[in-house]
Symmetry: C2
Subunit: 447 residues, 2 copies
């Protein structure tokens, strides 16, 4: 963001004062591409958006929220508490319920997990906590390792903090442990190991790839982080935002479950499984990380809204949240099937594509042929807008790479459209691919 000239004040001075922003603000750049795409989707409801990372709209828990609010407000002491300030760390019963729920998912007791409510903080979605943790760990120039591609808001945060996101190769099973180890060895040889503060891993139905990190890799990655913690600790920031949307029977334990609690910060949220408009996230943190994170959150907002925390707690306690999440998993599972079938039917006959069918979450990541430029200024994107469909250009999901980043990937979000609209949207992708290919010289490149 360049320093902008500002209209002169009526001070009669010849010098024109300019707006000076902090180096952080200059680093932050404009609004993330998702905001642009979200705004576009909201402005053009006739276009089928496979871009926005919204959760499914029609299944949002209206009745569950109404019941929870009614329950909260019908007891005057509870009602008054819900409307008052709370503590920065968050509503204690909710934090206890989160520990209990986590322990159940891991098949172990809280003490076996070294987990307790004292280490749990409630935040505005897990995203706020991701920001708080990275702000707590990173000085300008410091390094966070991450999958390549990775969550683009994570990249925005690191850029904002003037840190450096370094990509690690992934495959269909997620981050490749050997690639992580090689990168750490390379950084050590360059004398940069002390700058590595964290490894960011979205361990369930990753955004953007939809990939769930394979179970055998989990203890390996934790082990690597610990072994390479020499001058300073290298934390794993495990983002489990999509864990509750993991369909099917294979639901691996968290990376956190392979740790004693000193290395891995585990982040979760009820935004995806319940309601992003209520926006309650949480984290189970290494104890030494808790105090600086709380100091920062105390300055930022004192704590998340008590009303929302008590609402989510009520929906957890009465079972509404978990049964709602179960219903969502069924619905998303169906949409994944629809998406895969439509990709096979409408896109693969036009161009060769590669993708991993996700086990849940909100996204499918599709590789188009290497000669396709899926960027927002490219032919394919323009053809898609013309055919009435939006996607998230893959290029926004890559950390800076020495050799440039792939420009032929797209992220499809299947959550918002109905199955029928999904099919139509993917058919539009197919038409746009045909249009792009036909307009391209030498369109025979194969992967």
């Amino acid at each position: 963001m360049p320093h902008s000239q500002h209209s002169s004040y009526s001070s009669g001075k010849s010098e024109i004062p300019t707006a000076a922003f902090s180096r952080r603000a200059e680093a932050a750049g404009g609004p993330p591409i998702a905001n642009v795409l979200m705004a576009e989707a909201l402005a053009h409801p006739e276009v089928i958006s496979l871009a926005a990372g919204f959760v499914e709209h029609d299944s949002l828990p209206v009745e569950e929220v109404a019941a929870a609010v009614q329950s909260m407000l019908s007891r005057r002491d509870v009602a008054l508490s819900s409307l008052q300030y709370g503590s920065t760390i968050g509503f204690p019963p909710l934090r206890q319920a989160i520990v209990d729920r986590l322990a159940a998912a891991e098949g172990r007791s809280p003490s076996e997990l070294a987990a307790s409510m004292e280490r749990v903080v409630i935040t505005a979605g897990s995203n706020q906590l991701l920001y708080l943790i990275l702000d707590t760990l990173l000085d300008p120039g410091d390094i966070v390792l991450c999958g390549s591609p990775t969550y683009f808001v994570f990249l925005g945060i690191v850029q904002n903090l003037r840190g450096c996101a370094v990509g690690i190769e992934i495959d269909a099973e997620g981050m490749i442990p050997e690639a992580l180890e090689e990168r750490l060895a390379w950084l050590a040889r360059r004398g940069e190991l002390d700058r590595v503060k964290a490894i960011y891993i979205a361990s369930y139905c990753d955004n953007p790839t939809g990939i769930t990190l394979a179970e055998p890799r989990r203890p390996k990655l934790v082990d690597i982080a610990k072994r390479w913690s020499r001058g300073n600790l290298i934390r794993i920031v495990e983002d489990a935002a999509y864990r509750d949307l993991q369909c099917g029977d294979v639901r691996p334990y968290s990376l956190r479950s392979y740790d004693d609690g000193g290395c891995v910060a585990l982040l979760g949220t009820f935004s995806k499984s319940f309601s992003p408009g209520i926006r309650v996230g949480w984290g189970l943190l290494p104890s030494d990380l808790l105090l600086p994170v709380l100091a920062l959150k105390g300055n930022l907002d004192f704590g998340s809204p008590q009303f929302n925390q008590m609402l989510v707690y009520t929906a957890l306690e009465n079972g509404a949240l978990d049964s709602h999440a179960e219903g969502l998993r069924r619905r998303y599972h169906e949409k994944i099937q629809v998406t895969a079938a439509a990709l096979e039917e409408s896109l693969r006959p036009i161009i060769p594509i590669q993708y991993v069918q996700p086990a849940g979450g909100l996204y499918v990541w599709v590789h188009l042929p290497p000669d396709f430029d899926t960027g927002i200024d490219g032919d394919f994107f323009r053809a898609c807008v013309r055919e009435g469909v939006l996607y998230l250009p893959g290029e926004s999901c890559f950390p800076n790479e020495e050799n440039g980043v792939p420009r032929n990937c797209i992220r499809i979000s299947y959550s918002m459209p109905s199955p029928e609209r999904l099919r139509q949207g993917i058919a539009a992708l197919g038409r746009a691919a045909r249009r792009t290919r036909s307009g391209m010289p030498g369109s025979s490149t194969k992967r």
Copy 2:
């Protein structure tokens, strides 16, 4: 926060890795004193807390919130929207309603104010926006001018950002324009004017002093900020968090109303006048400040919870919010009378005191004799805890001063206790003062 030693991992290495936090996190220090006092108050309900900056508990708007939620959730399209993601800048109808309400308070049209919803952002209380603006403006070492004393969370934010808060003398009418000008001239002589990025002014019923900035000073302060904007713009960050709690007939226009919109960022909130548990704040920003603030907020939390924004909008539209605020002003006005009477009856007979009776808000700021140390480790504080009352020590509200800060002030928050408990709490202050004085050698010092 010192680097802490961390238990060694099972890597067999002789070096023990340590937790390295960012310089910002190190600067943030522990949780603010208010958190400590809040926690103490919650843990000891028998102690009368005149410390916590909570709003009055019993008058929180339970019925109003219930009605607003019912109204929102009874229309399915509205209900679904309230549970979905919104935009980073905030819910448009709420932003428009804020502009209209502001224009009414200023007695001018939105266009006369150069105010429009495009410049309004919704945040997690006005506090989050204070953080976002300061993060956007301050590099380490940069200066913000502020009253002395000032809002201690503001001081925590500046410390967190590694900036420098420089105090300006205040009197019973708020910040003294001549003192501001002298300080700017002094900074200019030292070549530090370019480091001055903002002036922070809580313009209505200030926290901690309860003072409302006198009307004639408002245009003067805006003029000074503009005249001294040479190398770079000096913004006024006007915190109007307590404006809706300003009782009585004298309700001065904002500093923003004396500006064309390029200098003053005006911050407001519905936390005090409606519910801190819902936590919806807002800001009307200079247009060039809007984009960097939104970029930061986008990375931090994407936007404030849609549910809460729509709830507040509903309560604004149906009139519940304004009639609730009117009722609060009556109640707080009564408590101010009770507080002043109790100070005269129970404290002044024991020790000489000075205070300005506030026109609203939540606080009275009391000067005790100069030989009283009101700090958390001092005799008076201990005597107060023993007598069953808590206050906020004044020393936490001062920026660092070359000649040290006054240690004989206390902030009394009259909002939470009932009138009866208020009288009891202030009587306990009197007993503690007597106890402290009697234990002190040479207790005849007068102000």
